[in-house]
Symmetry: C2
Subunit: 314 residues, 2 copies
Amino acid sequence: MAAALALSLRGRGRTAPNPNVGCVIVRDRRVIGRGWTQPGGRPHAEAMALAQAGDAARGATAYVTLEPCAHASARGPACADLLATAGVARVVYALGDSDPRTDGKGAARLVRTGISVESGVLARDAASAMGGFLARRDLGRPLVTLKLATSLDGQIALASGESRWITGPQARAHVHLERARHEAILVGRGTFDADAPRLDVRLAGLEQRAPRRLLLTRGAAPEGWQAIATPADIASLEKVDHLFVEGGAQAAAAFLAADLVDRLLLYRAPILIGAGRPALGDIGLGSLADAHDRWRLSDTRMLGSDRLEVYLRA
Amino acid sequence: MAAALALSLRGRGRTAPNPNVGCVIVRDRRVIGRGWTQPGGRPHAEAMALAQAGDAARGATAYVTLEPCAHASARGPACADLLATAGVARVVYALGDSDPRTDGKGAARLVRTGISVESGVLARDAASAMGGFLARRDLGRPLVTLKLATSLDGQIALASGESRWITGPQARAHVHLERARHEAILVGRGTFDADAPRLDVRLAGLEQRAPRRLLLTRGAAPEGWQAIATPADIASLEKVDHLFVEGGAQAAAAFLAADLVDRLLLYRAPILIGAGRPALGDIGLGSLADAHDRWRLSDTRMLGSDRLEVYLRA
């Protein structure tokens, strides 16, 4: 299942509104098929893995990160049917799919054809790997990641506005990798006017992965951009399950004030700036007690001389 | 020598203007004496260790973090003489003592009496352990540690001034331990007026270790406090080899602007504050290029849910 979860991440940011599923087919302790939801949502992970496995799938075990779907569509057959037809003996999945067209029906269909079914394996990790899909399904909006790149004292620029560069090349490359994992990136009007950011993915081999560009503004969108007036408007974005908020201080604060940030990427350079431009505007905090117990450190690593910390909503 | 260095730290913050030296006497692979400079500077580490070892010191090896002194005083005999009289066979020390009364004379006196002498062992670690003494000797001022306790976005209070508490009890206890390792603590006038801080050491067994209290102000000092008008005035402080700058933002910035901070303790709580009170005032930074390569991460650890990072001047 861990291998299936790793495969599922390959589709993250490119499968909305479909879930980014991973699938591994194992027979006699050997992996005979690997699949993940392809860009745009099809083929599904199971279809790809079964195609690899071919006849060897008969009697094999399929590990899938989400309950196999029970509904055929014009774009492809139901995965539960595909698995049954291929003759797999056992299906292990991590999370149930509450889509009413599947919701237990996928598992039931497998059981009916004599396939042994097990669920709930590494469910917590699967919820993290498919967080965007689940946020859309359960919260009706994309999973929101906020990026901050600051000095040790929390500044994102000098008072003069100079901000290039606070973090080093490794940290900036990591930001580009994160961009590639999101369907859309958002900046505020102030950042747009000051920096006219390209927000592209400048990593070899990933240049085509530049996400859609959103501008938080009550005004009109420039060409090549889409405007949203308030953070709450992200609920209506189509085919966006992962949103990357890149700045600046006012846009970041607006999302935090609306309690619409699920994941915080904090890139910190070992420098002090002093009286400059702080990372955040007003987030509407009434007292310190309200600030505590909202964030949990999930990961930390060095990127050159900078440190990345990843915090998740507690 | 590592054991001698650990012992030397027991005196840190209490021996100025004397160095905080550590000494271990070893014979037949057994430790027979341990000493460290006592509060106020006497007895010296060697005298304490030799008193423990007694007659067993004959033929033993003494490990000392600083070259044994060659000058007797009204307060005690020269350590080089003490070691010779005790009959030690070998003396290993980490750093030479450039005090003109010793500066090689200590070693020479040992060699003349037939003692084998080795120097430079763990010299770098010794320079760190006796950093306050060396700052006073080489820079003519105390070693300065700046403490900052901030949110993830570098704020030290809400806009309302509310600042209790950002960090948790473990981090605050660690600050009290650091206080006990300094001869003096400094705050700025704004912090004094706002918080009237006690700056004492509220740790069981260390209540008596509260350092002297300094106020950065051009005005008069309140009772129980000593005033200094500018950061540069720390050079004239008597019996202060370690200075702990606790805040607030203007005092911290004044020391940074004067390039008088050697060590930075950054306590960070996993909270976001937004538009509050930033950790630092203007530090006189002209460009981002000037901010880089000034700080090197030396240590990091979790204190409850807060993280402590220790940066040293690069």
